[in-house]
């Protein structure tokens, strides 16, 4: 039998390289109408009136009154309307849609619509939200959610502490910048609506449509089309776009296409949460870290979105890969009149690990130790408990990971050399991190309840029916490989198309590094059942998720296993800072991961390289600032994502450590590869300039400030 890790040709390769793949904007239909969204120009205002121009036949305006069901996006909190009713809470909030056959005329209609606002005092950042005493955005309070949990006895630790090391870090917005903008096509036919497009989570959209239209499930069909990247940006946000398209199709009785322009997309889609993270570590008389207090604050924007879940992941990650017995961790997601923050690859992890890894750097400096040497002394091991007290039950090979990365990168030697060559504007940094795979806590069981289906046909082909979406990460290939390997049949005999809710059960969203580990394992188990009945001809087998007996989670007190399992990694980044312009030049990047068994080495490498570039972009290039509630950078000219010349190739390696409960031993990977880049980069820059780095992105302007401050 073939080694499952051995790379095969991707099943979506031919149609993509030949330019035949039909993305949502590529669908053409003579009947098709176009949709444009009229958005709020104000950060916070009451809508006093809207003046509509007379419309030519064939043109429509869709506003909140056209929503037959509930005007609330179904997410954790149902605070966000699909279309504004009488107030707006951020610049870019959708108010109404203009629909029609000729785009130029749609623009002319948009020009003639007059929205009369009465402006209210907006809350524009975390600091303002914290000061605000009244006139809140959300339910009479400044935060959407506020969490706190403890481990051990922090009060006792504080009493006995000999030394305290304190830090405060800030992180900025990041835009997913998938190459294909948000795009949905919708059509109504025979009392049913079909919505297709560039999406990560077909069933999130189905639920949003059910709520907005008030229709029974049977009348709603959601299909994914080839999708030009997601990175979390097509997790919850497309629900809004899909409902808009559906409302337009419903009103016009024609198929519609709703495709965002890049500027529109950057201006009003969800972003990575800006965060402020404060850490305090307590050391005893033997210079051992005995406890920490950590406080995390995020700018969640105008609506709750997924901010509660992102904040949870942030506070469950911010303890890092270290076994510290006594902890107090708090987190707040603040409501502001900024664009809504949401899902982005890493989902709270990148902010958390940037803060913790830099904090460890600073503790090491305070103790005159090398950072990695300090870190090694606290690495989590099998049998330890996580920050939430959950027992870590798999082998944790952090020592092996850092040994390997040290070897391939020459980290220790270079670190010493650069320290000795003070003022050389060169540095090297190492980050060590994890990513929890699958939904937080018992979410897989309580919220998602994933189900997969395999259909075996007489000709011995097998069809995979899952809602997992191919967004470039390769699941059309990896999930096929898993099923074929179990069934011991050629992978070509396994069918798997872009998900269609009419055919596929809800195997959960394509998020949380769960597709291979959770959905793949369900398919693995399902395939074993199919195999046992192989001779039966044509039949269908379903497999539902069962919360593993070795895990437990108390969601009220945040106690237990915060994640079903973790993937682990270390990154090293070497930099030179230009002494004239203070631009950061990345000289080398290295990555070593424990993702269990890689399901396809080429796809794995693609995830490693891509995550590194996106993480380095987050660390030093991608500036996105809100001024007065408006994002200043709103196109690819001003929001600079990495080009082919910005960063060198990544040298990477894997640790062999199969995961008992994963398919063929696999764990998650998609997000892990982004999480550690920025902290390694920041540590390298800190060494290069000999100044304390307190925020990312590390722009030349910020580095100049640091050089000026402490000169």
């Amino acid at each position: 039998m073939r080694n499952i890790s051995e790379a095969i040709k991707r099943f979506d390769f031919d149609e993509k390289i030949e330019g035949r793949a039909q993305y949502a904007a590529d669908l053409k239909d003579r009947q098709m109408l176009y949709v444009k969204t009229l958005r709020s120009e104000k950060a916070r205002a009451k809508i006093m009136s809207i003046k509509y121009p007379p419309l030519s036949p064939g043109y429509f305006i869709v506003d909140y009154r056209d929503i037959p069901g509930e005007n609330r996006l179904p997410l954790v909190f149902e605070d966000q309307p699909f279309l504004a009713v009488d107030r707006v809470n951020y610049i870019g909030e959708p108010i109404l849609l203009v629909v029609g056959p000729v785009k130029k005329k749609i623009l002319a209609i948009m020009q003639e619509i007059r929205v009369d606002y009465q402006e209210l005092t907006p809350i524009l950042n975390i600091a303002e939200a914290r000061q605000r005493q009244e006139d809140f955005i959300f339910e009479g309070k400044s935060c959407f959610v506020e969490y706190e949990y403890e481990k051990g006895d922090i009060t006792e630790v504080k009493k006995k502490a000999w030394r305290v090391v304190e830090d405060e870090f800030r992180t900025g917005y990041q835009e997913q910048a998938y190459l294909e903008t948000q795009a949905i096509v919708a059509a109504v036919e025979d009392q049913r609506i079909t919505v297709c497009g560039s999406i990560q989570c077909p069933y999130y959209i189905k639920e949003a449509l059910r709520q907005a239209l008030g229709w029974p499930e049977e009348r709603i069909r959601v299909k994914q089309l080839p999708t030009g990247g997601g990175f979390g940006g097509k997790e919850e946000f497309p629900s809004l776009v899909a409902v808009h398209a559906a409302l337009a199709a419903l009103k016009a009785h024609k198929p519609v296409q709703l495709v965002y322009d890049r500027q529109e997309d950057i201006s009003c889609s969800t972003k990575r949460h800006p965060a402020v993270i404060r850490l305090k570590s307590y050391l005893d008389d033997r210079q051992r870290i005995t406890g920490r207090e950590i406080e995390v604050m995020t700018d969640a924007g105008a609506y709750a979105g997924l901010s509660s879940v992102v904040l949870q992941r942030m506070i469950f990650s911010v303890g890092g890969v270290y076994n510290i017995e006594n902890l107090k961790i708090r987190g707040q997601a603040y409501a502001t009149n900024n664009v809504v923050s949401g899902a982005f690859r890493g989902f709270g992890g990148p902010q958390a690990f940037f803060a913790m890894e830099m904090h460890m750097e600073n503790i090491a400096r305070a103790l005159h130790m090398e950072a990695l040497a300090l870190k090694r002394g606290y690495f989590l091991r099998k049998g330890d408990t996580s920050t939430t007290g959950g027992k870590l039950q798999s082998d944790i090979k952090l020592a092996e990971i850092v040994e390997k990365i040290d070897k391939i990168s020459g980290y220790s030697r270079k670190r010493r050399d650069y320290d000795a060559a003070d003022g050389g504007f060169r540095g090297i940094g190492c980050s060590v991190f994890f990513h929890g795979c699958g939904f937080t806590g018992s979410g897989e069981q309580e919220i998602i309840k994933p189900k997969v289906r395999l259909r075996k046909y007489r000709d011995n082909t097998v069809q995979i029916c899952v809602s997992s979406s191919e967004i470039g990460q390769g699941c059309l290939t990896t999930l096929r490989k898993i099923v074929a390997q179990v069934l011991e049949i050629p992978v070509e005999q396994v069918q798997y198309d872009y998900p269609d809710s009419d055919i596929c059960p809800d195997s959960g969203p394509t998020v949380a590094s769960r597709t291979v580990m959770i959905v793949g394992k369900l398919l693995y188990d399902c395939a074993r059942k199919v195999k046992a009945r192989w001779q039966e001809g044509e039949f269908t087998v379903d497999q539902a998720y069962v919360y593993p007996g070795h895990l437990q989670w108390d969601n009220e007190h945040f106690r237990g296993n915060a994640y079903p399992e973790y993937s682990w990694g270390a990154n090293v980044v070497e930099v030179a800072v230009d002494p004239l312009t203070y631009e950061v030049k990345v000289l080398g990047t290295w990555a070593v991961y424990d993702i269990g068994t890689p399901i396809d080495e080429k796809i794995v490498k693609g995830q490693i390289d891509g995550g590194m570039a996106q993480g380095l972009g987050y660390g030093c290039l991608e500036v996105l600032e809100s001024h007065g509630g408006r994002l200043r950078q709103n196109n690819f000219t001003n929001y600079a994502i990495p080009t082919a010349v910005d960063f060198p190739a990544t040298e990477s390696g894997l640790i062999d450590n199969p995961y008992e409960y994963g398919p063929f031993g696999a764990r998650g990977l998609g997000e892990l590869s982004l999480v550690g880049a920025a902290p390694a980069l920041a540590a390298a820059v800190q060494q290069a300039i000999g100044r304390r780095v307190r925020q990312i992105p590390l722009t030349p302007e910020y580095i100049m400030e640091l050089m000026d401050d402490e000169d």
């Binding site: 785009k103 623009l107 495709v259 004239l580 312009t581 010349v645 030349p700």
Partner: protein, 281 residues
Amino acid sequence: MVNACRPLSLEEALVMRSREATTVFAGGSDLMVRYRQWSGVTPDFSGTVLFVGHLPELQRLDREKDTWKIGAACTITQILQAQGIPDHLKLPLLSMASPSIRNVATLGGNICNASPAGDTLPMLYALDARLTLQSRDNARTVAIADFITGPGKTILAADEILTEITIPPGDWPRVYYKKAGTRRANSISKVTFYAVARFDGDRIADIRMAFGAAAPTVVRNPAAEALLQNIDKNQVPAWLETLTTHYADALRPIDDLRSTGKYRQQTALRILAHFLRRELA
């Protein structure tokens, strides 16, 4: 209603230009973005668009003795690939935009855009480039420094077309160019510095220095350059303070969404100091 005119000769273009208000369209890499609308909707140019990119009269690219004459509609790629084009003309072009943009963007367009961050401008100022402006009945030649009057503003008259850029002769053994941008390629300049120098033994025979994106227009300071004339290049560091003062007053950078005025100012002066201390000596 948008009109478009694709003349067959420069003469025809100039007649057109003399008759009505036109937007001169050379490569279009800037105009197509400026007037773009929604995808699928034709860019919203007002008035008449006059295409000149194809005109052979604007495609000249040759050397007369040591003077370079570059047609205004030559693309950046054409200039980079021209036979014998010297390094001091190439350097800023190499790091400009991306290959696909360099294939359409023209030198004349970059000049007439008059962006403070225009990547070719510091070089053209430093080399005392002269511009030929032609109208139906007239032609005049102006220095680039007199042509650009502010961000997006030039003295180009409504009936004129910039036809040619003349780079006076000059042998420049020392060429230096530094660009700080938003990233390493395909980026808009935050601040740029271009300098050329010629020596007579150890003495500086001629030196030119220009800053881009550091003021409403390119900053060049002939008085400061004159101070260095005939100075032994090893003595230059002694003049650093005086020169820094000269330039610090002339630089007027702004805060914008790509950088800060403070960064631009300080970086420009740091590059200047580095050039005078390390690169020149």
